[in-house]
Subunit: 337 residues, 4 copies
């Protein structure tokens, strides 16, 4: 990284979605990055504030033109899976470093990807991508041209379970996830109509959620090759995810031992907070923080791990900025405090 510009210019491709818009906002306020342009497949010409009055980026959405994009140093791509890969390929060809928020480069096995998603448009790029879970892949991210940001649920799941996986302690695990409606995206649907959601809670994607193979892949890589139970539930909140993980251990642990395992792993982490009581999602709203609480359950011998993140921040947009910071040699937390 011999020639990092002092103020690298970054474009956000797909800034009309929730996460893309937040990424744009974070870049626009960032002390070093310069937000060069924001693009969208629809709504070209519209000021971002028309779509999001709460954001104050004073730019209008543009149609993406790869050759103009070539002037930028980096891009955050916030397209749906299947649509992201070709754009990522075009940007990489033009020399940009890319942080991709889609699922296209998260799964290392192309057949797994294709079983859960769509035919992969650019399988040749998979091996070039680094999985962008900041706390577990810092060095690789720093040197990468392409970073695949984790899904929001896998972000929280791996942060919650990584220390136990690495210690070989997971025999079996149930992950019961609760998520806000923004995780479902901005497109109006029956399922995100206010009347369908308010005063309600409902499981969805039971046995079929696409974040399952991603969690399996990462847990296995860390030493826990078990198929997880993972069931998300839709809650009447807009942002936030809470994962309640119930772990059958390979050997008994006291509360002190359990806490020590996490303290050792996360003691130096700026954006993982080990907390004394089970966290609520409000505690981490609009932050890059994952709050984790652990409980060694004497009655059952299990370990409970509760992890809360903001799905649009740590789960997507702010983790992307943290990774971009690393890719350009900046402090990981720059612009995120």
């Amino acid at each position: 990284m011999s020639c990092v510009p002092e103020h690298p210019s970054v474009i956000v491709v797909g800034a009309s979605g929730y996460a893309g818009a937040i990424a744009a906002e974070l870049l626009w306020r960032h002390p070093h990055f310069e937000l060069a342009a924001i693009t969208a497949r629809e709504d070209a010409g519209r000021p971002l504030r028309e779509l999001y009055p709460q954001h104050r980026v004073p730019l209008a959405l543009e149609a993406l033109e790869l050759d103009r994009a070539a002037a930028a140093d980096a891009a955050i791509v916030a397209y749906p899976h299947g649509s992201a890969a070709p754009v990522v390929a075009g940007l990489l060809e033009r020399g940009l470093r890319v942080v991709d928020l889609s699922a296209d480069f998260r799964l290392r096995d192309v057949e797994t990807y294709q079983r859960w998603y769509v035919p992969h448009p650019n399988p040749e790029l998979i091996s070039r991508a680094v999985y962008g879970l900041t706390e577990y892949n810092r060095d690789a991210i720093a040197g990468a041209a392409l970073v695949a940001c984790p899904g929001c649920f896998p972000t929280a799941a791996i942060l919650a379970l990584g220390p136990l996986a690495q210690a070989g302690l997971i025999a079996d695990v149930v992950i019961d996830a609760k998520t806000g409606v923004s995780g479902m995206g901005k497109q109006p649907r029956d399922a995100n109509h206010f009347v369908a959601v308010t005063e309600n809670v409902r499981p969805y994607g039971v046995g079929a959620h696409r974040h399952m193979p991603e969690i399996d892949q990462e847990l296995a890589a860390l030493g826990a090759p078990v198929p997880v139970v993972f069931v998300p539930h839709l809650l009447p909140i807009d942002q936030g995810e809470l994962l309640s993980c119930y772990v059958t251990l390979t050997r008994a642990l006291t509360q002190a031992e359990l806490e020590q395992i996490y303290a050792r792993r996360y003691g130096e982490e700026a954006f993982v907070e080990m907390v004394a009581a089970p966290p609520g999602v409000r505690d981490v709203r609009e932050t890059n923080v994952c709050a984790i609480n652990v409980h060694a359950d004497e009655r059952t011998g299990k370990a409970f791990v509760f992890a809360a993140i903001d799905n649009l921040w740590k789960g997507t947009a702010s983790q992307a900025i943290a990774n971009l910071n690393l890719m350009f040699g900046f402090d990981e937390g720059l612009g995120l405090a």
Copy 2:
């Protein structure tokens, strides 16, 4: 009404919307009416419970066939404006009594209708329709073949202001309305996406809401020919409407006088509750009740009137059932307690 069947059969035309589905539910539980069929323009063949797990009508939606509908004694029509009128015409021709929930027969002046809505498909029927505000039109409703149920806002507005209008006391009035999201209908849109609504409140339709000319018409008919200020606000609640009415009076009133005016008018009404403190919409949720509180403001000489209804019940579906009760000679409140 020489030959009222003991158990009149009723169909609900357009039962896939919020109000139509509630009307179906109320008819299905009704001690006298028999719910003969429920129809919808889409979703024919689907059990209603697939759309509304909270309703327990064990019927499936059908496509409407007017000639089969002819076997029924009455219909509740819950179609959008412009689409309702032709169906109403077809049902009337076949001898059914009809309660229409659309705007098509609410405005007595066809030009006003056409300025605010669409070209009227069946203007010849307008004069046959009775405006279905139960408390103000009971006798006419009882004898009508076609009842046009009021809009949800006009229902609350006229109940709130009628006594003052009839007494010639309204010089000027500001109606600030707060409504739940169900008032906007079931079709998913940006504006009813959970994320757009939660933790938010926003005025809409400022100076342009279609319920304004309807409120003007009815207030004028009762003796208050003033153009109202009427501004609705969208709230993060699903059902319920609160109207805060600020009335400049033609002469000063004490609190006792003001209360007496309302007590005289509504003392015998089963479904208007005069309450001692400003009502909340939860107080009347899933009821046919309009709760009203009045305040003679010494500081300003104005009268404040607060009225709360459930927009889908008193504002639409349960008022339709009350009217249907009257049309068939039953007690107005049958099936609504």
Copy 3:
């Protein structure tokens, strides 16, 4: 039950809480029971509507006088644990049949009760109490003088897991519960302040919730002597409980086998609905229904069982009415449809 009055008179002792007030409302509308009086330890003299404008029982709260209460045929007692038992004793002495909503007579082992609650004021009565889970104890309830209504979580938990327990299929189970705020009671506290709850979700009572021993007791009685993992989470909803149960099975089951086990057990039950998709709590709001969905998970070999109830209805007040119906020889569902 030689001399059941046609219209038994019932008092609600402790009608100022959420569940007591709903029980009063249900009795007041009940075709057979006569609501004779409602009492509370505070607020004597206040009309119930002052506390609950949404309820329409036209009675005022009274202070309880046991000797006057003796005129009634039955009582529903809605006092906190520890306070309920002496009142129940007094009412039983005076010949009333009692449905108790507290925890005082749920646990058959007095030491377990005292470990989780307080010193038991009336241990001699424990053996006289019948555990009031309607679907599992119908005959005993019908003949009982004292019925101890289950806790809201145990109600849903046993309905969810009972069929598997009876079939000896539960090797291990994780119950992740989501509950509305009304479950916490009416007393204002930091934890139920609107600002603390909205846009939030948080586990509570981890490893320490008092409904755990009750679930253990009942599951063991049905054939599954395993300590359960049970973790409740507080959600920004007012009423409703969803239990997500993840069962490690003693032998593999297909989806068809799993469904058949439940169909056999609940096929004739009026208030258990086996549903094809995971239920939301809105589906059962203000009903006596428990909606259950089952999923045989091929990936992990586990069975998932999702159960939704209204904590204040099926979880408390309406189940009490169903039990009272049985105790007086009425149809179980009378007044609950």
Copy 4:
């Protein structure tokens, strides 16, 4: 202001309430001010994060000791009315500049204060206080030792109506206010219990809200000596206030004229945003911004003004910081972007 320290030290007195805690958070992140201490009347010794996990100020609450406080350059006082004044007096005596968030120094007429609040503990200080509505009192604030921050409703009301008042255009005005629950404070009460608020909306303080005389005072000072109608409504949101103002004008205005009046007044204001559509409170959440939309209503000749603020930010804590910035010669928006 000859000797402004580069990094003035500030204490927050009463940091355990919502607004005090936010003020502490803003000061802790402020590039120039140094947060020296946070105090509270209860909870001394507790880290602020125990009370507010979402705030990250790493300080514990202390008991206030005036003599130790003397070392600071300034204080933000967030005590209830009546309790604030004596503390403000003590701090002023010790040479601190004070921004007071209570009502104690907002009303210039002590009798008016005493009629609406309590006997005034320190009437001698009233004349020394500057009313801290930043946009209208910038110069006086800059030179003041004591700034009385406006109430949240008056902040929005005067920003909404000031331009019309100054132009002598207000003949009469109705202000219908909608507010989130945080405006009611942190103390748990029946009225802020989640169950009382969710899915509800209700007027409160009708004809009796303490912000009325404050609005009257300021409007009169700006040229509109009319008693306002002001009715607040409690909404199921945590933060945010929307004021809908319906103004009877002294002469007719076109939409263009109305917009021009506001553009002239607020064109240079960094924290007043004139917006083209009626604002929602989400648009200004956690900002120092007041968003205003105006509508000249042809039907009625009235002007409608809609103003949205965050009651805890612009309505209290962030306006306090803006004022403190001015008092120390910093840019008004420092630390608030």
